[in-house]
C-alpha cells in the first residue's frame, strides 16, 4: 500500500459520502417531476442535514448508550462499504481487506445495530420496525450474496474491485446468468433501501412503514447521521449495481488522472440514469402489503439462485 493508494482510497470515500445526498435529491426531484410536482430542488437533502445537525438532540429518558452509539456505527459501516465499492476506479487498496462476502456482512452489521437501536426505547413502533427490517433483511441478504456468487464465479474472484475490473476489461458479451442476477439485484436494492414497493420512504407514521418506524425516536445529529447513512446506502447499492452490470468507464488500476477524467463524468451520467430509473419504478408501482414483501424477496432470492444455476449450466 503506497501513498497514492491511500489518497485514492480516501478521496473515493470522501466523494461517496459527499455525493450520496445528491443522488437522493436527484431521485426525489425526478419523482416530483414524474408526479407533476415542482420538487424541493436537488440540494434539499443537504439543507435537511444542516438543519438537523444544528438542533439539540432529544433522547428518550430510557435510551441506553447503545442507542447513541448506533448512528455512528451506521455511518461508519456505510462509509467503509464505500471504500470497497469501485465507484470511480477499481484500484482500491482496501478492497483486499474486505471482499463481497465481507461487504454483505458489513451491511448485515449495520442492519443488526439499527434494529437493536430501534428496540432500545421499547416503543411499539420501534420493535415493529426492527422486526420488519430483519424480516426484509434475512431474505434480501442471501439474495445479494447469491448475486455476488454468480459474478464471483464468472470473474473467479470475490473481491468487488477485481470483479468490476474483469467485467470492464471484458468485451461486451451477454451473460444470461447476469440478466437473472441483475433483476434480483434490483429487487434487493429496492427492498434494502426502503423504496417502493417494499417500503415507502416518503411516509411517516403509517402502520406499514419499516425503516421510518425504526428511526422514529432519533432526532437532531443522530437522525442526521442515520439519514445520511441511508442516502449513502442507496449510493453504495447504486454503485455496486453499476460496478457489476455496467462497469464501463471505470478507471483501472490506482488513481490515474487520465482515467479519472473519463470515470467521473461516466459515473455521474450512469448515476443520473439510475436515479431517474428508480424514480420511474417508484412512480409506476404501488406499495405492497407487508406480507407480500417476503414473496417479493423470495422471488429475488430464487432469481439469484436461478442465475447461479444458469451460469453453472451454460458456463457463462
Amino acid at each position: 500500500m503506497n501513498i497514492t493508494g491511500v489518497t485514492a482510497q480516501c478521496t473515493e470515500i470522501a466523494m461517496s459520502v459527499a455525493a450520496a445526498p445528491l443522488l437522493l435529491g436527484w431521485v426525489n426531484q425526478c419523482r416530483a417531476w414524474l408526479q407533476n410536482r415542482r420538487g424541493p430542488g436537488l440540494l434539499q437533502p443537504y439543507r435537511q442535514l444542516r438543519k438537523l445537525f444544528h438542533k439539540d438532540a432529544v433522547l428518550a429518558a430510557n435510551a441506553s448508550p447503545l442507542f447513541r452509539l448506533v448512528p455512528y456505527v451506521e455511518f461508519a459501516s456505510m462509509g467503509l462499504a464505500a471504500a470497497i465499492i469501485p465507484s470511480l476506479w477499481t484500484g482500491l487498496p482496501f478492497g483486499a481487506a474486505a471482499d463481497t462476502i465481507a461487504l454483505v456482512g458489513l451491511f448485515a452489521t449495520a442492519r443488526l445495530f439499527l434494529a437493536l437501536a430501534a428496540m432500545d426505547i421499547g416503543t411499539a413502533f420501534g420493535s415493529l420496525g426492527a422486526r420488519r427490517e430483519m424480516l426484509v433483511g434475512f431474505l434480501a441478504e442471501p439474495a445479494l450474496l447469491m448475486v455476488f456468487f454468480t459474478t464471483s464465479l464468472i470473474a473467479n474472484s470475490t473481491s468487488l474491485p477485481t470483479i468490476a475490473d474483469s467485467f470492464a476489461r471484458h468485451p461486451l458479451a451477454l451473460y444470461p446468468s447476469l440478466a437473472f442476477a441483475g433483476v434480483a439485484f434490483l429487487m434487493v436494492l429496492l427492498a434494502e433501501n426502503a423504496r417502493i414497493p417494499v417500503d415507502n420512504p416518503a411516509t411517516h407514521l403509517e402502520l406499514t412503514m419499516i425503516h421510518e418506524a425504526m428511526v422514529l425516536e432519533y432526532s437532531a445529529r443522530h437522525l442526521a447521521l442515520i439519514e445520511w447513512s441511508a442516502a449513502l446506502k442507496l449510493f453504495n447499492y447504486a454503485c455496486i449495481g453499476l460496478a457489476l452490470f455496467l462497469p464501463w468507464g471505470l478507471a483501472q488500476g490506482p488513481a490515474d488522472p487520465g482515467g479519472l477524467l473519463i470515470a467521473l463524468p461516466a459515473t455521474a451520467f450512469k448515476l443520473l440514469l439510475v436515479g431517474a430509473g428508480l424514480a420511474l419504478i417508484e412512480t409506476l408501482n404501488a406499495k405492497m402489503r407487508l406480507f407480500r414483501a417476503p414473496e417479493f424477496l423470495a422471488t429475488a432470492f430464487l432469481l439469484a439462485v436461478l442465475g447461479l444455476l444458469v451460469h453453472l449450466l451454460l458456463g457463462s
Binding site: A60, V73, A124, L216, E217
Partner: protein, 668 residues
C-alpha cells in the same frame, strides 16, 4: 509416529486426573459454597488455561502415544495426542477456563443438588471429555464417552425435584444411549474381523465398500445423536435448558463439539472417508439441521431453548463443512478439502466460545431476575451493563458478523463452496452451489434470531416491575464472561494464525496443508490473494477509526447538547411496557412464512370475549412423525412380550426348565 518423550501427553493426562481430583476434593466439604465454588472452580479454570497452553505446544510436535496399564488384563488404555486431538483440547481448555471462572461466582446454596456433588460431576464431565479426545482405542473411547454422558445426565437433573427436568433428563439419557449403541456397533464393524480394537488396528483394517458405508452411517447416527443432528435432535432443546447455566454452556459449547470430534476421528482418520455420497449425505443433513434449527430458534419463547436451537443450527453448519470436506476429498481435491476442514474446525471453536458466552449470560439474567421467559424480561442493559455489553459480543459472533469470529468461519466455508463448480462430476457441481444458498439463508436467519434474543432480553423497557431490582453479575462471573467475549474478538482477528494451526490437522488427516496462507500476518488469503482475501485487523481498525472520526467531527463542528424527554407516545396516552413486541410477536413473521414446518396449536379469541385469551404453541413435527410412533411401537412390543409373563412362579419354573432342556439338546 512417536518421536521423543510424550511430555505434553503426560501433562495433559495429569491435568485430566487433576480435574478428577478437584472433583473429589469438593466432596470434602460438599455443602460449603465458599470451598467448592470460590476455591475449587478457579483451580479448574486455571487447569483449563494450562491445558490451552499444552494443546498449543502439542500442535507443534508430531503425534505422541502412551499406553497406561490400567483397566482389564490384556486391555491397557491407549492414549494418543495428535493434531486433531490437540485442536479439540485447545477448545476444551480455553472454553472451560471461562466457564469454570463464571461457575465460581455462579453456584449458590439451595439450588437443587449440593454444590460439592455438582462440582464433582462437573469436573468428571470435563475430565471425561478430555479423555474422549485422548483415547486411542475403542474401549477407552467408550469408557470416556459413557462417563461423559452419565456425568452430564446427573448435571442436567441437578434440580431433580422438578418433573419436567426429570423428563428432560430421561430423554437425554435415552438418546445418549441410542447414540452410544451406534458408536459401539460402528467400532464393531470397523475392526473388520481382526478383533483388535486399538485405533491403529482399526485404521489398518480393510473393509469392503458396503461395510465401510455401514460403519460411516453408524458413526453418523451415533455422533449425530450427541451433536443434535436433525432428526436426532429432540433431546437437545429439552436437556440443555434444564441444566444450570454453566453446565448448559459446557454442553452446548463443548460437548457438541466433542461429538464432532468423534465423527472426524472415525470418518476421516479411521475410515479415510473417500466416498462422495457419504459427504453428500452429511452435507444434506447438515443443511437440513441448520435451517431447521434456526427456524425453530426464531419462534422460541424461552431464552435457553432459543440458544439450544441456535446450537442445533451451528452444528448443522459444522456438519455442512464436514460433508464438503468429504466430497472434496473423494474427488481428489485435497487442498480444497483442507480448506473446508479448517472452516469446520474453526466454526467448532467459534461456536464453543460464542455459545458458552450466551448461555452464561442467560445464567446471569436468570440469577438476577429468576426468569427465563422472554415475556417477562427486558431493559436489562440499564440494570446489568456488564452482562449486556459482553453478551453483545457473543450475539454478534453467533449472527456471523464481521469482524468477529463467527464471520471468519462462515467466510471460509463460503469460499470453499465457491469451488464446488470445479468438481469433476456433472451432477454434484450443480447441486452443491445451491447448498451455499441454504447456508447463507441460515446465517441470515440467525441474525434475526440474535436480534430477537438480545433486543427482548436486554433492550426496551422492563416488562415486569421487579426487573428494576435486578443486579449485575459479580466479579468472578464478569471475569468468565470477559474471557469468552475476548476470545470471540480475538479469534476473529487472527484467522491466519489459526489456519496455520489447523493446517497441521489437515496434513495429518487429508495429507494436504493449506499452503502459504498469505504474505502478511494480517491478511487472510487462503488460496490466492487475487481470488479472495479478508483482513479482520484492517476491518476492525477501519471501522473503529471511522466511528471515532465521525464522533469527533460531529462534536467539533456542531455540539454535543442532549435533552432527555419521554419517548413519543404515539400521539396518545403514555406507553406501557406491555405494548412492546413480545417474543411471540417477534417470531410471528417466521412462523407465518415457514408455517408448514411447524406444528402449530393456536387459540384465537373471539371479538366478543371479555377477557380475550390468546395462546400459540409451536411443536416439533419430528416428535410426532418419528418419536411418538417409535414409542408406541416399543410399547406394543412390550405388551406382546408381557404375554409370557404370567406372574405365577410355576410358569417361570417351566420356562427355566424348557430353556435348560433346549440348551441340553443344543449341547448334545
Amino acid at each position: 509416529m512417536m518421536t521423543g518423550y510424550p511430555t505434553e501427553l503426560i501433562a495433559v493426562t495429569a491435568l485430566g486426573c487433576g480435574w478428577l481430583l478437584i472433583g473429589l476434593l469438593a466432596l470434602a466439604r460438599p455443602h460449603s459454597v465458599s470451598w467448592v465454588a470460590r476455591g475449587l472452580f478457579p483451580l479448574g479454570a486455571l487447569a483449563g488455561i494450562v491445558l490451552t497452553g499444552l494443546a498449543l505446544a502439542a500442535l507443534h510436535h508430531s503425534a505422541q502415544t502412551l499406553v497406561l496399564p490400567l483397566g482389564l488384563p490384556q486391555l491397557p488404555l491407549h492414549l494418543r495426542l495428535d493434531a486433531l486431538s490437540a485442536v479439540f483440547l485447545l477448545l476444551i481448555g480455553a472454553t472451560s477456563a471461562g466457564i469454570s471462572m463464571f461457575a465460581a461466582g455462579y453456584f449458590r446454596t439451595g439450588e437443587g443438588t449440593a454444590p460439592g456433588l455438582l462440582a464433582l460431576q462437573y469436573h468428571l464431565f470435563l475430565a471425561s471429555m478430555l479423555f474422549v479426545v485422548l483415547a486411542d482405542d475403542a474401549f477407552s473411547f467408550m469408557i470416556a464417552w459413557e462417563s461423559m454422558a452419565l456425568s452430564s445426565y446427573f448435571l442436567v437433573t441437578s434440580q431433580h425435584r422438578i418433573a419436567e427436568i426429570r423428563r428432560a433428563g430421561f430423554l437425554y439419557l435415552l438418546m445418549a444411549h441410542l447414540g452410544a449403541v451406534g458408536i459401539l456397533l460402528c467400532f464393531g464393524v470397523l475392526q473388520g474381523g481382526s478383533w483388535q480394537f486399538s485405533f491403529a488396528a482399526l485404521r489398518a483394517a480393510h473393509l469392503t465398500p458396503l461395510w465401510a458405508s455401514i460403519a460411516f452411517f453408524l458413526a453418523l447416527l451415533g455422533f449425530g445423536t450427541k451433536a443434535g443432528l436433525v432428526p436426532l435432535h429432540v433431546w437437545l432443546p429439552e436437556a440443555h435448558p434444564a441444566a444450570p447455566s454453566p453446565v448448559s454452556a459446557l454442553m452446548s459449547g463443548v460437548m457438541l463439539e466433542i461429538a464432532v470430534y468423534g465423527l472426524l476421528r472415525v470418518s476421516l482418520d479411521l475410515l479415510h472417508a473417500q466416498v462422495w455420497w457419504w459427504g453428500l449425505a452429511a452435507l444434506g443433513l447438515g443443511l437440513l439441521t441448520a435451517l431447521y434449527g434456526v427456524m425453530f430458534a426464531a419462534v422460541q419463547t424461552d431464552m435457553k431453548r432459543l440458544l439450544a436451537y441456535s446450537s442445533i443450527e451451528n452444528i448443522g453448519i459444522i456438519f455442512l463443512g464436514f460433508g464438503l470436506t468429504v466430497v472434496f476429498q473423494a474427488f481428489r481435491m485435497p487442498v480444497l478439502a483442507a480448506l473446508a476442514l479448517a472452516a469446520t474446525l474453526y466454526h467448532c471453536l467459534n461456536h464453543a466460545f460464542a455459545k458458552s458466552l450466551l448461555f452464561l449470560g442467560t445464567g446471569s439474567v436468570l440469577h438476577a431476575t429468576g426468569e427465563r421467559n422472554f415475556g417477562r424480561l427486558g431493559g436489562l442493559i440499564h440494570r446489568m451493563p456488564w452482562v449486556a455489553w459482553l453478551v453483545l459480543a457473543g450475539t454478534l459472533a453467533i449472527a456471523g458478523l464481521p469482524p468477529l469470529n463467527g464471520f471468519v468461519s462462515e467466510w471460509l466455508l463460503l469460499q470453499s463452496f465457491l469451488f464446488t463448480p470445479t468438481i469433476p462430476h456433472d451432477f454434484i457441481n450443480m447441486l452443491l452451489p445451491l447448498g451455499a444458498a441454504g447456508l447463507v439463508l441460515a446465517a441470515a436467519l440467525s441474525g434475526y434470531v440474535m436480534v430477537k434474543f438480545y433486543g427482548i432480553v436486554f433492550l426496551g423497557q422492563p416488562r415486569e416491575a421487579r426487573l428494576a431490582q435486578a443486579r449485575d453479575c459479580g466479579r468472578l462471573e464478569r471475569l468468565g464472561l470477559l474471557w469468552l467475549a475476548a476470545g470471540c474478538v480475538f479469534l476473529g482477528l487472527i484467522p491466519v494464525q489459526m489456519l496455520a494451526l489447523f493446517s497441521r490437522v489437515t496434513e495429518e488427516l487429508l495429507g494436504a496443508s493449506l499452503g502459504t496462507l498469505s504474505q502478511h500476518w494480517w491478511l487472510l488469503a487462503p488460496l490466492s490473494a487475487q481470488r479472495a482475501s479478508y483482513s479482520p485487523v484492517a476491518f476492525m481498525f477501519s471501522i473503529v477509526a471511522f466511528v471515532a472520526l465521525t464522533l469527533l467531527t460531529v462534536r467539533l463542528l456542531y455540539h454535543g447538547r442532549v435533552r432527555r424527554a419521554a419517548p413519543w407516545g404515539c400521539g396518545g396516552s403514555s406507553l406501557t411496557p406491555r405494548m412492546q413486541d413480545t417474543s411471540e410477536g417477534f417470531g410471528q413473521p417466521i412462523r407465518q412464512i415457514f408455517e408448514p414446518f411447524f406444528r402449530l396449536q393456536r387459540e384465537l379469541p373471539t371479538p366478543l370475549e371479555r377477557a380475550p385469551h390468546y395462546r400459540v404453541q409451536v411443536e416439533d413435527r419430528f416428535w410426532f412423525w418419528l418419536y411418538a410412533p417409535a414409542a408406541a411401537l416399543v410399547q406394543r412390543i412390550a405388551r406382546l412380550a408381557s404375554v409370557v409373563q404370567q406372574g405365577r412362579i410355576s410358569v417361570y419354573l417351566l420356562y427355566s426348565f424348557l430353556t435348560l432342556m433346549a440348551l441340553l439338546v443344543l449341547v448334545l
